[in-house]
Subunit: 172 residues, 2 copies
DNA sequence: CCTACCGATCGGTAGG
DNA sequence: CCTACCGATCGGTAGG
């Protein structure tokens, strides 16, 4: 709180005119990011497109959010575990629901033969975790634009996810 | 330190018969993991095999380490940033060297046409970060064996990395 | 390895 | 929004 106060040219105690407790800051950031991703998931679920396109849209959102708001994403990704009860439980549950909805899309893609027949949980966590470096690497100014970075990460991840085999044939 | 002491049935002050400072624990774990990965890199560099095989071996090591020693990997992956100077600088430099050696292998694969022509830094960080969920998800007992998990993650990641286009031809 | 501490720091409050 | 604090906790030491 002392560090935070210094950044806004106040005394630490003065922060408490704006917030009630330190925990409140953590809660607000987590809740806001949760809302952001949940709303996107609502939209994606109602879209009439293939699983491959839905995953692509969700990945794109995660990547763009990490590039645009790295601080909030750091809190949402790494610091949420410091939430106090009962918020920790509530947040974990909301996270679980989001992941389950994402899993459903992945399962749909596997059943339809668009995705490789891998374990959906492994796919989900690998995809979501694969971009966790973005919000940390903001200090070194990027050689590539955010758009290029997004494009390349998606190509790398979707390339591994999509099934290259012919629909009804054997191997090779 | 109080929590740690409780886990080994001691008083916090008694820990200081075994270590000099709290920081020492962090340093030792970071140094040990650094040595482990550096030694593996030494071996891999001297192997006579293609880049695709080298990346596969390194990924396999990272995955197996995360499964076998999740606590150390958590420290090495997430907690190293709390090292004090001058250890923080030293460690960052050793990390940078390891990453550079990994980058060289990736660049070699791109030049040889085995890997997609993406930015090598993006590939490196995406691959290394993609498995960061493994050491956190140890509580839920796994539906899949460690071997199966390793195999599937590697298939997912290498599938996106490898170039599927014919060597000299156009697209499709 | 324990008891008995200590100085520093932390989140937070009282009162203006 | 500030000054002046407070109780709790932290890493660590003295001395046995």
């Amino acid at each position: 709180m002392r560090d935070l106060a210094e950044r806004v040219n106040l005394r630490a105690s003065s922060l408490y005119s704006h917030i009630r407790r330190k925990e409140e800051i953590l809660q607000k950031i987590c809740a806001e990011q949760d809302r952001r991703f949940t709303e996107a998931m609502d939209e994606v679920e109602h879209m009439e497109c293939k699983p491959v396109e839905k995953v692509r849209i969700l990945l794109s959102l995660h990547i763009r959010t990490a590039l645009e708001d790295p601080t909030s994403v750091t809190v949402f990704s790494d610091e949420w575990k410091h939430l106090e009860e009962p918020y920790l439980q509530k947040f974990s549950e909301r996270r679980r629901i989001y992941e389950q909805r994402f899993l459903n899309i992945i399962e749909e893609g596997i059943k339809g033969g668009a995705f490789k027949p891998l374990d959906a949980n492994i796919i989900l966590y690998t995809l979501l975790t694969a971009i966790r470096w973005l919000h940390h690497k903001q200090q070194t100014q990027p050689a590539l634009s955010g758009e290029k970075q997004e494009q390349q990460i998606i190509e790398l991840l979707m390339g591994g996810l999509e099934n290259n085999l012919p629909k009804e044939g054997g191997e090779r």
